[in-house]
Amino acid sequence: MAGLSADALESFQDDLPVGLVLCDPDGLVLSANARVADWLGKSVSEVEGHLHLPDLFTVGSKIYLETHVSPLLRMQQAVREVAMEVAGPQPRPVLLNADYFPTAHGPRIRLLMVDIRERRRYERELRRERERAEASEAHLRVLAEAAQRLPRSLEVEATAAAVADLAVEHFADACFVHLRGQSGLELVASALAPHAPPPLDRLDVGKLVDLEQAVEGQAPIVDPELTPSRAAAAGVADGALSPHPWGFACVPLPAGDLEGCVSFVWSGIDAAPPGTLLQDYAGVASLALCNAQAHERARAAVRSREELMGILAHEFGNPLSTLRIQVEAWRRRVEGSPDAAHVQRMMESVQRQLDRMSRIVADMLDLSRIRAGRLSLALARTDVGRLVQDVAQRQQPQFTIRGTTLHVEAEDGVDAVCDAMRLEQALVNLLSNAAKYGQGRPATVRLRADERILRIEVADRGLGVPPAERERVFGRFERLEGTSEPGAGLGLYIVRHLVGAHGGRIWVEDTPGGGATFVVELPRQGPDARVDAARLT
């Protein structure tokens, strides 16, 4: 440098706030300024000719040097602004610039290092913030998906399975869900990640930790290093879990209606899911499980009510039949006696009531059969034209007593594969509705057919069914407005199921000029040929 003697130049270099080093190609330090020696806590003579390039740095930086910097230096002949840390009493963050430098004695490596302590402090702060933000974002994504997916099933077991599945999809290698059952905490669901070793499925979590303690104590039990021997004690053969490391956590469901815990197993470096994620996940899982349980209970209640109804209907049926026969016998007996007319009237009234009760009991029996899926059909080719005529004729009195008539438009010989008794039951039901709701006006039953489909229409001229009600009338215990006639509201529900069992459809529409028309369509070849796709034209 012009204007400086060799001594002055050296002192100038020593005073610079930067480290200067010169190495041979094998990394032996040939020359270093006082600043570097000062950072290292050594004298210049202890450094020069003694230390190698890697010795200048802390262990972490040394690894980085060997794995990243040296290869690059070798390949590119130069590196710039690499963040490193110089070893010494106080490790010193520096930015390193280095390159190969030709000299008369062959190539040399020269290093220039700038102290960046202040900048590093700031960067560290920045990094911590970023990590926090990233972690909580990932965490929220999992929880959002859990909140969306877990409540999809309304059964406890299926929900528990979803809890396990979702966990292995996102952050665990295996997940086990235990819920309080009759014999304590029982394993309800488990899931295994596709890459996890299959023996892990056999892990007996109860042998790994005291599940009761976790649930009672409402505190997670975490084992960040699940050793092979502990896993072996819990049913996973020694060696099945290598390579290391494995971790485990058992997180209780938050106290509530449902007692239990979710256990997670993970493997691999850095794989431990954050504790807050596990606890929040257990919280979301608990919510979904409690919901499913409440729903299951409600359904069980409905089911037992229906079962009870079936039993009652069955139990009522026999005494009712006996009573009807007895009443008929008494009526015969009093014929010809002085009080005959009076007793006859009383007996007829009793018989009518008995008939009604019998019908209701029969409906209830049908209902319970439908609900239990036990409704069966005796299929045979039947002349439906004749059947419609016969039924219409038998139902005529219902219309006569209301001062009106039932028109029949049906021809003999229109046949279909069906259960004649059940079809008659449906028809009787529709016709008595037409009588009840017909406002004393005439009604029509009409049979039409093409080669495939058979259609029966029962049209009355009553108040009709408003569009909004047209689905509801086929529900259980639903009744139409416009009549004071008694009934349990089961008729149309049963009719729809009878028609459905035949592979047919039923709906209600307006009768031109007012009133309701119930339309039944049946496939003529029996239930296998459904009419969903095709309608009579």
Binding site: P54, I63, P71, G268
Partner: protein, 343 residues
């Protein structure tokens, strides 16, 4: 039941066929067509009546397509490049922590004449498909070993020699243990089965040191995460070299690098070493290797029965870069011994 399965499958095949024909490019004859068409099965289940409306000759296409796609996917995932003489003994070069297949550029030319050379980037590194990096699959070195095995399977190689540097030396052991039948040998350059000291074992590092490495990684990625280039600049005298290298070498995703660093330096595969026994194994140990000290190399040699140990004159951790001639010479001698033993 079986007939129903075939009937259900038909629309899927149809759509695949459509995909196959849209490109109008005939599938190259290759390993894909070795799979027999499911003709026999079809005739059996449907009583000899073909259910498929497509001409007989084209039926294999939908079956082979997914397989070809899978093969392509594997090769793309690990940015696989093949050089050298097809049909000659394959050498599969696998780079270590920190870099990519560029690590081998001074070594591979020496083998191109008489070997088939396979270069790849570990999943997540270099030019590999970073989306394929799965923190759980790659949460242990086994995940990477399985990747390499899949590459060798996809290429249909037999008798390949796994040349692994640094952490990939151990990945080689795991790959050999996974499918012994496809490997003809293993070359371990600067191996270490465990970097952290343990009772009765000197790996060279303490657990805290690894935190220091992560710190160094982190510091070098902060603010310029996706671009190592501004930091590591090219040789001013040979700008073309610098340009090329900065674009391809050592550009790793910071999150993956950090994770892979932990997987590499916190793993312990000492108990896996004996699994390489029976496959001819060469261990290359450098002098003054700051990452894998000599004691560790000797430990590996001791634990793999029948392995050969060569103490190189080369210094440092990357003899493939710093002393390529010696590295080539030692590997070549091993390969020729291998050839003699087999021949």
């Amino acid at each position: 039941m079986a007939a129903a399965t075939v009937r259900l499958a038909a629309p899927t095949w149809a759509s695949l066929l459509a995909v196959g024909q849209r490109g109008a490019a005939p599938l190259p004859p290759g390993r894909g067509d070795q799979r027999p068409p499911a003709k026999g099965t079809r005739a059996q289940v449907s009583g000899g009546v073909p259910l498929s409306p497509w001409p007989e000759a084209k039926r294999w296409i939908p079956l082979a397509l997914p397989m070809l796609q899978a093969t392509e996917q594997v090769l793309r995932r690990n940015n696989v490049r093949t050089l050298g003489r097809k049909g000659a003994r394959p050498l599969v070069f696998v780079h270590g922590f920190g870099c990519d297949q560029g690590m081998w550029r001074f070594v591979t030319p020496a083998f191109e004449k008489d070997h088939e050379i396979v270069l790849l980037d570990l999943t997540g590194m270099g030019g590999s498909d970073r989306k394929a990096y799965d923190k759980r699959r790659h949460g242990t070195l086994q995940g990477h070993a399985d990747d390499v095995v899949e590459v060798v399977e996809a290429l249909g190689l037999k008798g390949a020699v796994f040349v692994g540097h640094s952490v990939s030396a151990v990945i080689g052991v795991l790959a050999v243990a996974r499918r012994r039948d496809i490997w003809g040998g293993l070359v371990m350059v600067g191996p270490s089965p465990r970097y952290i000291n343990d009772e009765g074992y000197f790996g060279g590092f303490e657990r805290n040191d690894i935190e220091g490495l992560l710190e160094a990684l982190e510091n070098n990625y902060l603010g310029w995460s996706a671009q190592m280039a501004p930091v590591i600049m090219g040789n001013p005298d040979r700008p073309e070299l610098g340009q090329e290298l900065t674009n391809t070498f050592c550009q790793n995703d910071p999150a993956i690098a950090r994770h892979f660093a932990r997987v590499t330096f916190l793993s312990d595969h000492r108990h896996d070493l004996p699994k390489a026994a029976g496959v001819p194994t060469l261990i290359l140990q450098c002098s003054q290797d700051a990452i894998a000290p000599e004691g560790v190399g000797r430990y590996v040699h001791e634990k793999i029965p029948g392995s050969e140990f060569v103490h190189m004159k080369a210094t440092g951790h990357c003899p493939n870069l710093s002393h390529p001639e010696e590295t080539v010479e030692v590997i070549r001698a091993f390969l020729s011994r291998l050839g003699k033993r087999e021949g």
